[in-house]
Symmetry: C2
Subunit: 499 residues, 2 copies
Amino acid sequence: MTTYDNLLRVMNTVADLGAAGALLGWDQETYMPDGSVMGRANQMATISALIHHHVTCAETRELASEIRDQLDGLADEQKRIVRTFIRDHEMAVKLPVELVEDMSRTAAMAQDAWKRARAASDFTIFQPLLEKTVELKRREASLLGQAAHPYDNLLDQYEPGLTVDIITPVFDRLRKGTVELLASVSAAQGSVSDSALYRTYDKDSQLALATEIIAKLGFDFATGRVDLSAHPFCTNFGKHDVRLTTRVRENDLRSCLFGLVHEAGHGMYEQGIGEAFERTPAGQGASMGIHESQSLFWENVIARSEEFWQWAFPRLQQVFPEQVAGLTARDFYRAINKMQPSLNRVESDELTYNLHIILRFEIERDLIAGVLEVADVPRVWNEKMQASLGVVPPNDAEGCLQDVHWSFGGIGYFPSYTLGKLYAAMEWNAMQKDIPDVREQIRSGEFAQILSWLREQIHTVGRSETPAEIVQRVCGRPLTETDFLAYVGAKAQDVYELD
Amino acid sequence: MTTYDNLLRVMNTVADLGAAGALLGWDQETYMPDGSVMGRANQMATISALIHHHVTCAETRELASEIRDQLDGLADEQKRIVRTFIRDHEMAVKLPVELVEDMSRTAAMAQDAWKRARAASDFTIFQPLLEKTVELKRREASLLGQAAHPYDNLLDQYEPGLTVDIITPVFDRLRKGTVELLASVSAAQGSVSDSALYRTYDKDSQLALATEIIAKLGFDFATGRVDLSAHPFCTNFGKHDVRLTTRVRENDLRSCLFGLVHEAGHGMYEQGIGEAFERTPAGQGASMGIHESQSLFWENVIARSEEFWQWAFPRLQQVFPEQVAGLTARDFYRAINKMQPSLNRVESDELTYNLHIILRFEIERDLIAGVLEVADVPRVWNEKMQASLGVVPPNDAEGCLQDVHWSFGGIGYFPSYTLGKLYAAMEWNAMQKDIPDVREQIRSGEFAQILSWLREQIHTVGRSETPAEIVQRVCGRPLTETDFLAYVGAKAQDVYELD
């Protein structure tokens, strides 16, 4: 056995444990009986601790040290896999296993407390566990090393290489452009009605239609499936077993349809990762930001385009003839792209969405820097909502308790959503150069070439390239907000028929 | 940390890994997409190997050696837990991890081959993998130590302490008694009709009724659930998460109803194990035989009794008024207890069932002893069917390919089913002494005291007593076939109205 073979064995074990952990998580959100929350928390903490052990133990340290001297002799693919592993290894060795277990167990309890807090709209139920989470994350950030901002070390876990100093000017320009656009749109707000979306839509028919659409887009049901859960997500246990979940609301057509297309975007990414990376740390998406660029590409660029509904609207009419009676494809396209400030991130439109993210980014950054206390989060949340969106939640359930992320310790995660939007707009510009008739293809319900392009450009390399490398290679330049602002500006102009 | 605390940590890790492995198995049979068979096989092999590692590694060996000297200082419960762990530890250290992984991976592939072989009714598709399985099991048996029969070492894994020499005379007397009874029954066969069971029964209504019944029996849905699978089973991930599966056949009322009651019997056992044993090797059923005694107790002793249907038949009439029109509770009771030789173990009655088991026991014993070749299994199967049941399968799908067990390496498992029947009859006699009006309670649809009795007598101790200890304590004597023969004889007499 060569050093690489031995290291591969370690990587396979870690990947298999990761798959088992992901299944425990999927099951908890879909089928697990309520009575087994504690048992599941223990199981997940054990798996996390074992993964940490295998990534950091003495044997692995030795292999990691040996393989650094043997890189020249490895094939290109092996080099990429090793590089990815070394990154995980170096990050993990900085964190004691007790912290990893504590984080995992705290997350399980915090999610439970968050659910109860949200149901009661009482932040104080969640507060002690959020305090514990922030404390653990501060410790984690400081253990991970010196950085201009301690929050950089958390950002880096979701988007390797991203820092506060990189993202701040991008977010500043994005906010400025968004606020300007929003002013133009607000003046024309009356011209777009979305009331048809909130009629009564049979749940089973909604789910069947959404499933039909993602199959048409290219989601492979031989290696994937769809289930229901309170909050939609995508997870996977290798590229051959990709699970999507969705929720269906009888009086909101958007929830299941766009939610499932979004998750299928994540799913098609995982299904498209190169076989060579299976059971290695490179066999995953490159980052949360790149992942979101895939889900948002399909959800927004494709499924919220007018061309898409020129193809899909007749099918929608077949399924829900009464509900959409009197509407044209263009009416429907305008309805699903209505842009206006709202309280809820998930339900917000493409334009105002990023303002929700920037608010969360600022709060997270300040919590980790120690300049904001957890107890002050509800007040600061509401002040920032007023300042940036001009609306204030009537209670914490609709305010700072609306998202699950902080409860599972996902601090540093939110910026990925906006990165995903910015990357998706950049990818869309690159794709239009390579596939000049792409809009025609969408109008004809042809998505094979679009998916192939994404596979070749983005999916195949998995995590073997960094997000910055992928963006540079595919789009010819680094992260920018300009493509997105141009894209959303053109859409606003079209939807609101601005001059 | 004391030695016990350290050992407990190892046991917790092993139990959590076991839960993750069980979830991977449950998911494979319920929701996993077809395309991920290989990935799942790898994941399960990794979990098996890790369990083996944690039970046998140097650190655990040292802890096991230390704790042997400290037994006097432990609380009674701790002593029992340690004794159970030491048993697993001593068995595991005899098996190299390569064998464990090979077994796990072979099982995954053999199950796939078995499914294909059965679908094509072609034993040769399964044969090479069964040969590999038998070879691995022979190696396993020989590594586990000296025994009068190598098969004893496999029996011992399912029913600690059981040997060929113990079981053979029991099985011989059981066969003799069964054949005699069968002769009397056959002469009166025309007097019992079961044709009503094969009318058309709406699947959803069947599942709803069976679910309602197991809830009434005492299965706790706060810590359990029911799903569909091709083959019914029960699995669990701790006592707070117990999963049952069932299948529903539109033209066979027995399959879902009695299948689900059977699995719920297993499930109530797991739900009843003492909290103190959670996340330790004692937190499981005592053996496969004791487990089957619980499932068969509820399925046969309770749900196939006349008293049960005196209570439940009116409800059945409500759900399926047309299908059971003209039948009385007694007619129905007689129909579900029709006794006649058939080809299929799962669908056979309480009397002839054991003949199917004895046949499998003899074949397994001879395969492991090396006096029967895998290639000869189909021929020997058919010869034995002719000799003991007087019927011969028309093909291998309905013959030696009918059961899943050999494909997952479960050689030594089958005798547990008959042990379960024998134990259940012994438990039933013990229960009737403690609860004199138990038949009245069943007739009134009251099952709480029955479940409490089983909880106290059998469930609570989990695996902290051996099956022999449990049977001796609860029934006042060791394993015997006499209670069962008396029980089934009385039922035959009643159902067939023999003199």
